[in-house]
Structures are given as structure tokens and as C-alpha cells.
Symmetry: C2
Subunit: 434 residues, 2 copies
Amino acid sequence: MNLALKKASTRLNELTATEIVAAIEAGETTCEAVVRACLEHIQLREPQVQAWQYLDREQAIGQAIALDKSGRRGPLFGVPFGIKDIIDTVDMPTEYGSPIYKGNQPRNEAACVALGRKAGGLLMGKTVTTEFANRFPGKTMNPFDPARTPGGSSSGSAAAVGSHMVPLAIGTQTTGSTIRPASFCGVFGFRPTWGDLRCSGVREAAGSLDTLGLIARSIDDIALYRDVLLGVNPQPVPAHAGALRVGFCRTHVWPQVEPHTQKLLEDAAQKLARAGFEVRDVELPAHFERLMDAHLAISSFEFSRNFTYEIENHWDEISTTLRENRLKSGLECSFERYSEARAIAAQCRREFAPVVENHDVLLTASATGEAPVGLNATGNANNCLIWTTLHVPSVTMPVFKGPHGLPVGAQIIGKANGDRALFAAARRIYSALT
Amino acid sequence: MNLALKKASTRLNELTATEIVAAIEAGETTCEAVVRACLEHIQLREPQVQAWQYLDREQAIGQAIALDKSGRRGPLFGVPFGIKDIIDTVDMPTEYGSPIYKGNQPRNEAACVALGRKAGGLLMGKTVTTEFANRFPGKTMNPFDPARTPGGSSSGSAAAVGSHMVPLAIGTQTTGSTIRPASFCGVFGFRPTWGDLRCSGVREAAGSLDTLGLIARSIDDIALYRDVLLGVNPQPVPAHAGALRVGFCRTHVWPQVEPHTQKLLEDAAQKLARAGFEVRDVELPAHFERLMDAHLAISSFEFSRNFTYEIENHWDEISTTLRENRLKSGLECSFERYSEARAIAAQCRREFAPVVENHDVLLTASATGEAPVGLNATGNANNCLIWTTLHVPSVTMPVFKGPHGLPVGAQIIGKANGDRALFAAARRIYSALT
């Protein structure tokens, strides 16, 4: 098969997870060789990316040697992955992006970590998160321009995959914390249907919105990783039969999208139409704008309860950003306002089904544009917020380049519980646009 | 006010939380005195109850003295509470009812613990849980008869409140883990509308079913504790205006309820009717029986993913009960079956609203009868399973005595998000039946 060496120039750290599994299975390489290639590349790039909160070279190599010797196999066998540092790991510290938890070593291992390992994957290290997966940034820089944000809150996960340090990483999303950094870092990002993937062992931000977020360099890898995290036998991405019906949905936050990005999306919609896709404009009902306020109330109310211990005991170690925004608005939010917000969200979820009834997916912006300059903020998440609150799955695909030559994603939205259909559509759209 | 001493025979450990707060506020007692009274009673009763997984007498007294000195006040000021040992605490170990986690000391504190402390409550200790809040029992005995189960999985929480060791305790419920032990131990138990109370820091069993469970000795205490755990200013239980419409709902598991308990409930329904309540029989749609299988698929699928780390690394330290039941069925359950089960549950949730439209609450059994003899199992949870899966709130009230003079609860069911209306109904029904 000679998969690993399909191009003489392809290095092991540049392979996708699917390719690594196949290459090891074919005896063309080993887990140790893959991990060493990744570590070598990390050594080269890390000073300018700073994707890792914790990474122990010897520990990673030791795991790889043990895997090679084990005789085990598995759908993720030999694949190094990164885990956002708000997710508990038994053999690496978990600091939640906060000085309060410096050196914290959990005894529990999050379900998503253990499921990755069960499938033969190798936990390379912990990737940088913003403080408690909120907005105060960690040290990570955009792998395409260190003066720019990698996005957040899954900053290190997106940057590590985008800079070919590992093929897979897990993030989370409560607003736009996977899709946005994936767009900024030139990779595929996937936010699943809410409730599908277990968040046990993941520090909760706002449970009624939180999901895991998967980051990879191919849609096949996203689909593979999802099945591993569901704890089921992986199935290949299904083929989409017939014409693909794409609803182009600018949403009410379209004016926030940069003109250059608007043009990229308009052109992409036309290109898809020319390629035989059924492309039509879709408008969300006007009252879906209320999802913005509803999301703020839900996320802030829940976040400010979840972090009661830190608020009461470590107030001075919480960033001003977090204190003055999420926590303040959450502590001021009444239960009545929170309940009303949940009712609005539930109503929009019911109303969304007929909106997309005649479409396979919606096409929309992943972010306002390229990663903004500056490392003090992680960019505008409004292009993700609507879909997050609707609990529907979404994928961002690295299909565009912005005015500075930096990556810009296209986001496609699926139906609740239609994650695999979304992957099928993503593959066809990605092929048509690249 | 002389609340604490309202009856000469009332000891401090017998007061409800509401009474403790009022007595301290009135200067009639102190937190230290309350805690010392509780500790004295624990010393007396613990050998025959074994409610506590962790309790340090000096630590509790130290906390009480500090609270008294603090000059602080709060809606739970001075009230000792117990926390089920699947809930993380920063200053007490958390062992999840499993030898795998012996001595585990988390650095995080669960939201529900921190919210209780923020309100001025005092964490007395950790109450015994079954293994991972599943079915393999801990050491706890029924406070009314040590040869009988206290119920589970919140065994220690129910037994501690039932034996007047503390006025409040938190449990959890994934099937019937709060309502059933509360019924067996002669106390009020409350399972909230799913999603209302944050479970951050609570070891997840099956997240799409899990809730906290509140255990107390009065409905006012339940309402107070709920507000504290919502992080809002407590409001008194509202008065229910007009005739209370009670649907008597035997459910399809009525044949599993013991004849004596059936008679108690039939008599109670008649008594309520005589007292002016509008009591009518209510039947659930026949296909709601499918909730039994749906619950099994959902809980087992999710549980077996959440415990991947333990399954992969500590299989021999997991009980045969857990391995052979929950884990085996969960690992064998396909994603298709799981998804179908979730769809059935979602459909029944939608269909439940019209079923209860013309009723304020439903009246049903909390358990099949008195706590069964034997400490190797925790009793039949089927009378709770339906309501748990429907995500609706429920309260069990200690209103009956079984053939052996042991407590038997009556369960009333509210509408989703109608928790406070449920409390209003509970108070009236409790008064009418006792």
C-alpha cells in the first residue's frame, strides 16, 4: 500500500489519523516512528506556536514503544492526539487554564481520553485552553502568524493540528470554541449534536450548551474520531446519494462578517451551484436573533454557578476578563431570565427543523474572517453561537484564504442527530470547493 | 421566637434546616451547638446506620466555630449537610463508592457543594453511595431496621437525614436513586426537572438522565435547598390557589407494587377526594412502557462510555454486579439502539404534557413498599424510572407506614419546569394525608 510514503515529501507528522492507522497496519511504520516525527516537528514549531500546556517527550515515546510492543490494534492505533487542558487525564496534569489549578493531577480520566486510548490512540499531551474555556487567552499563537490569535477557547488543540504537530485533538464548544479556532488555524473542526459525546471528566462551562469539539485535518478523520468517542465500531463516511441541497444562510450576524469573507462565501455558493448542487438562500426566522441574548443568559447563569468554589475562594486568581463579563452577568441573571432564555432556545430548536427540512445542510461563515491580529482576545464567536444554541452539528472546513493569505473556514450546519449525513455533505462540498 | 425550643423534647439535631436558620438568626443557638448535637447523635446511631463514608468530628466543629465567628449570614446559615460520595469536595476525600478511588482527594469542588457553603451551610461529611451510584451497595443499613436496605444509590444521604444526623443531604438520581431511598428511610426526597441544578463536579453516571437529588425532613427545606443550589435568593413555597387537581396514576408497573402499598395509595386518593381535592384516575399511554427499555439502553450505553478508564484499567476492582449488568449491556448496546431509545424518550416527553394538562400533579407509588430485608440489593426502582426518563420533577413524602411499621412514601409528579408548583401541591397533600 505504501501509504505513509505516498509522496516522498510527506513526513509522518503530516499524515492524517486514517493514514497513520493504515500505514502502521501495513507495517510501513510504527507508532514510535510517528510519535518521534511529531515530537521533532513540535520541537521545531513550538517556540512560535506554544500549543502545549503539558508535553513530556519521554512519556510520549514510552507510550509509543509500549503500544508497538503490545500487539494490540484498534481503530486509532498509533495515532497521537492532543487534549484540551480542561479535560481530566490520569497521567498528566490538568490545569483548566487557571493558576488556581497549577499542578492539579486528577485521579479520574475523562471518558473521551479513555475512549481514545481504548481505540489505540496515544495521548501526546495537554493543549492550551483559555482560562476555564472562556475568553482570557493562554499563551498560544496562530501557527500561520504569531502576531495573531489562534482563536479560542480550544486554542492549543486547533494550533497543534494546524501546525502538523498531531493529527487529532479534542476541544470543547460552549459558544464558538472549536469552530472558530479551527477556522483560524486552517483545519477541520466539528461540533457534534449536543448530548452525543460524553463530557464526563470535562470541566463544565455551561452544561446545557457544552459539547466536545473535534479537530483534524480531514473529514474522514473527524468521522473516525467521532465513532471512537461514541465507543462504537467506526464506519466510513457514507456517500451522499443524489443532488446535495445546500441552503446558503447568511444569518442576522452577516453584517459582522468581513466583506472579503462575505465574497468568499458568495462565490463558494455560486461555485457549488455551478457544480450541480441545489443551492438556495435560507433565512432564519427573525426572532432567532433572540438566541444571542438567550445564549448569554444560559451560558453566564450556568457558568457562574459552576465556578462557585473559585468565585468564593480564589476571586483574585480569576482574570478580570472572566470576572467582569461572564461571571458578573451570570451572578446578576435571575432564574426567571435564565428560564425564559432556555424556553426561547427550546422553541427555536423545535422551529429549526422545518427551516432546514428541504435542505441537506446550511452553508454559512465559520468566523468573521482571518484570525485577527493580537493575542489578547480570541475573536468574534457570533457565527457559531446560533448553531451551538440550536444543539445542531456543524463542521468548519479549511477552504478559503483571506486577504493576508491566512486560512478562513466555511461552516456547514446539519440537522440534530444528522452528524453522519453532515460528514457526507462536507466531503462533497470540500471536494467541490478545493 | 424560641424556635429551637418549641418543644422541650426537640433536640437541635431534630430541627429542620429552616428551623436551624431561624433559631441561629434569633440568637437562640449557634452553628457550633447544632453541629455538636448532630455529631453526638451520629456517634450514637452510626454503628447501626453506617451512613457516612467520611466524617471528621474535629473538622466539622472547626467549620462550625469559624462560621459562628465569621459574622456571615446566609439562607442556609449554620445548617449541616451531607454530600453523596460521588460528588467532589476539596477538603474531604471522594471515593465514588469504589476501591479504585480509595483516598482520592479532588482539587475541584462540585457546584452543589460550593453553593451550599456559599449560602452558609456546613459540609458535615460524605455520605455512603453504592459503587459509582449504581447498584452494588455500600455499608449503610436502614435506620429503621438494620436488617433492611436503606435503598440506593443515595443510601447514606437518605439514612443520615432519616436518622436525624443532619437535616439536609444531596444525592443523585439516574433511575430511582433519590426517591426510593428517601421512601425507605422516611424522609422527603426531591428529584428536580432534569437540567435545572448543575451537576458540575458530580461523577456522571448517565448524563442525559442524571440529576441531583435533595433529601430533607420538610417540603420547606426541599424548596429552600433547591433555591440555594440554583444560586438564587430563596422564596417561600407558594400557596396553591383553588382546588388541587390530582391525577392518580398507577402506571404499568402497578402489579409490582405490594398489595399493602397499593391499598395505602388507593386509600390516600380517596382521602384526598374527601378532603376536597379533585382526584381522577390517569393512565399513561400504553407505549410509555417502552420507557423501561429506553431507560436501560440510554443509561447503560452512557454509563459504559463514562467508565471506560475504569473498565480498561481496573476491571478486577469493579463489582460483578456492575460488570454483569450495567456495563455488559452498555458495551453490547449499538449506537442505533441507543439513538432509538433517546428518540422514544424524547417523544414520550412531548406526549406527557397533554397527559397531565388537566392535573396539577400525579400521585403514584415511590417504591413497591417498605425497604426489603437484606443488604445485598437496594430495591426495585421501577416506580421512579418512568418519571426520571420523562425529565419531570418528583417528590416523595413520608406519609405511610407499611405492614412492619416501616416508612413508605407517596410520590407526586410535577410538570417539567414546574418544580415550585410541585412543592405547593406537596405541602397541601402532605397536610391532608398526615
